[in-house]
């Protein structure tokens, strides 16, 4: 497949909730192997953008292309073979074990009466190893801590063996150690396996540390798109968030935002 038709492309996408426009004429390309964070204030349409990219919402206008195909022409099963989503922490009723939850990631590969195949079990084991949950196989999902749960949900998404991973606020509700652990894992997957990553993230400093490309959404439009040093400036941030900030440098070189309340 020619490289220009690969990855994820939003072409002039608009979306409304009711009469309320959320996204207006968005053009966004995420190339294979990129790691992109979508930032912006509450209600700026970050999660909506992610759901459009996952194909569970249909754009009002414009098109979403996955590897060169119009999303509307693809079945959910086909999309789930290529795109996995790690949603915000959710409630799972029933006492599923950790490995059973991870195995739900194999749903798009199941058929009728047949049980899970050898490759399903292999993918589940690998996904659990990748997030370091090998030791918790038989534990009940509901007994896990918030950090472990989030890893299990990441493992579920990885068990889908996707090319593209979409993360919705993966670090919300996590302590700083787990934030670093989780984003570190995602970064490794991106660098070593070429997994394409598009995440929404609230914490601007974390976004600057882990993501080479940031997309700033505000008022339903992309206000800035580029490396953190370009996107995170006093003007763009105070413009989008309406907060007074000062720019510093993280010892690693990334921009670091200080709030001036």
């Amino acid at each position: 497949m020619p490289s220009e038709s690969c990855g994820l492309r939003l072409e002039g996408v608009s979306f409304n909730y009711g009469a309320e426009p959320v996204l207006k004429d968005i053009y966004l390309r995420v190339e294979p192997g990129e790691m992109v964070a979508c930032i912006g204030p509450n209600g700026s349409g970050k999660t909506t953008l992610l759901k459009l990219a996952a194909g569970v919402l249909r754009p009002l206008r414009g098109q979403v292309h996955l590897n060169g195909c119009d999303m509307r022409s693809l079945s959910r099963r086909h999309v789930a073979h290529q795109v996995a989503v790690m949603p915000q922490l959710f409630h799972i009723p029933f006492a599923f074990s950790v490995s059973e939850v991870v195995a739900l990631g194999r749903t798009p590969y199941q058929r009728g009466l047949a049980g899970p195949s050898a490759s399903d079990y292999l993918a589940v084991r690998q996904a659990m190893a990748q997030v370091g949950l090998d030791g918790l196989v038989g534990r009940s999902f509901q007994e896990l801590s918030g950090g472990e749960r989030q890893k299990a949900v990441l493992a579920m998404a990885l068990a889908q063996e996707p090319q593209i991973l979409l993360l919705d606020e993966p670090t919300a509700h996590l302590d700083i150690r787990h934030q670093v652990e989780l984003l570190g894992m995602v970064q490794q997957l991106n660098r070593k396996q070429g997994l394409t990553v598009l995440a929404t993230i609230h914490d601007l400093n974390l976004a600057a540390l882990y993501f080479p490309r940031l997309v700033l959404l505000h008022g339903g439009r992309i206000q800035a798109d580029g490396p953190p040093s370009q996107v995170l400036t006093v003007e763009t941030i105070s413009g989008a968030f309406g907060a007074s900030v000062q720019m510093e440098r993280h010892p690693g070189g990334a921009p670091h935002i200080l709030l001036l309340p």
């Binding site: 996952a54 569970v56 079945s75 959910r76 099963r77 086909h78 999309v79 789930a80 073979h81 996995a84 989503v85 949603p87 959710f90 409630h91 799972i92 009723p93 029933f94 006492a95 599923f96 074990s97 059973e100 739900l104 990631g105 749903t107 798009p108 199941q110 009728g112 009466l113 049980g115 899970p116 050898a118 079990y121 009940s140 509901q142 889908q160």
Partner: protein
């Protein structure tokens, strides 16, 4: 992997053996006891082998009265427990039972209307009441589904709420009919019997119609088991896993409603089976629907066959409504399981 297959086979073999034992007991005992040995000889006799040593009355009791009823009870139990698993899984609601989205109210109103109409109808052994109960159940679900449908989507919460509203309305109508029974010549006792539940099979032809419906529904449900697992994550989570949410939800609701309507046509409104059998088995076996669905079908069948046996043999000649027995046995068994599995029952 081998462990899982082994476990699946063991559990299903155990439950299958329980069902067969329950059906043998159900056939042997009743107002007249007929030993399994006589039953065995009679069966061989039916197959053309020359055996003897029983009366024509015994043969009639066994093959025309008791056996169809035992088979009917097994089918109804299997259908209710399967529908219970489907609705609990799909609606992610521990209080969901086969009747939660309006089937019970629709069926009850259908039966009540049938018992007012001065009509004698018999279709393949079905009287007017089971027929109208069947179609009432399906009709109520269709109304509920369409009420819950907004702009091409049918959110699960809306299905639950619409189910509650429609059920309330229909039960109010039934209560009104029963209040006016003097004028309407309503057979209140018959309505009461329907509401309490009781397996009644007059004719093998009824089994011939209901059995394919129920067995087909159970097989179809099992085909959707992995999708039901994905629905544990909610509708959005299921969509991310490649589930066509609206289509599969409609299929699952339709299977559950058809199973319930088929059960109602043979057994009236038998409570508790569809609620407690799935919960009890989930406690013991875990929540994977690929195992839970067939296990619930077998377990529900065995449970209702035994309950029906007790219903007709505890206080002869009075027949206790089987819904009372299912609650009297089911509740303590469930409480025991709940207490034994000390960890909190997670739903």
């Amino acid at each position: 992997m081998a462990m899982r297959r082994y476990r699946l086979a063991t559990v299903l073999a155990l439950l299958g053996a329980t069902l067969v034992t329950a059906m043998l007991l159900g056939t042997a005992f009743g107002a007249v006891a007929i030993s399994p040995w006589t039953f065995f000889k009679m069966s061989l006799g039916k197959l053309g082998l020359s055996f003897s040593g029983w009366s024509a009355a015994e043969e009639t009791i066994l093959f025309s009265l008791r056996l169809p009823r035992v088979v009917g009870a097994a089918l109804v139990g299997a259908a209710l427990a399967t529908a219970g698993v489907l609705f609990q899984g799909l609606l992610r609601n521990p209080m969901a039972d086969p009747y939660i989205i309006g089937t019970s109210a629709g069926a009850a109103l259908g039966a009540a209307v049938a018992l007012i109409l001065p009509l004698e109808v018999a279709l393949y052994g079905f009287g007017l009441a089971p027929l109208l109960a069947f179609f009432g159940a399906l009709g109520a679900v269709m109304v509920v589904y369409n009420l819950a449908r907004i702009g091409g989507r049918t959110p699960i919460v809306s299905v639950l709420l619409a189910g509650f509203a429609v059920s309330s309305l229909l039960f109010a109508a039934i209560a009104l009919l029963m209040t006016l029974n003097d004028r309407l010549q309503l057979k209140v006792r018959a309505v009461f019997a329907f509401l309490m539940g009781g397996v009644s099979v007059q004719d093998w032809r009824q089994i011939a119609i209901v059995a394919p419906l129920i067995l087909g529904g159970i097989l179809l449900a099992r085909l959707y088991a992995y999708r039901l697992n994905a629905f544990s994550l909610g509708e959005e989570g299921a969509a991310y896993l490649g589930i066509e949410v609206e289509r599969d939800k409609l299929v699952l609701l339709a299977i559950g409603s058809l199973l319930t309507a088929a059960a109602v046509s043979l057994g009236g409104l038998i409570g508790f089976v569809g609620l407690v059998v799935p919960h009890a088995l989930r406690l013991v076996l875990g929540p994977d629907h690929r195992l839970l669905l067939p296990a619930a079908a077998l377990g529900g069948a065995a449970f209702l066959v035994l309950s029906d046996l007790l219903a007709r043999s505890l206080l002869p000649p009075t027949e206790i409504p089987v819904g009372i027995i299912t609650a009297l046995i089911g509740a303590p068994v469930f409480i025991y399981l709940l207490r034994r599995h000390r960890q909190e029952y997670a739903f």
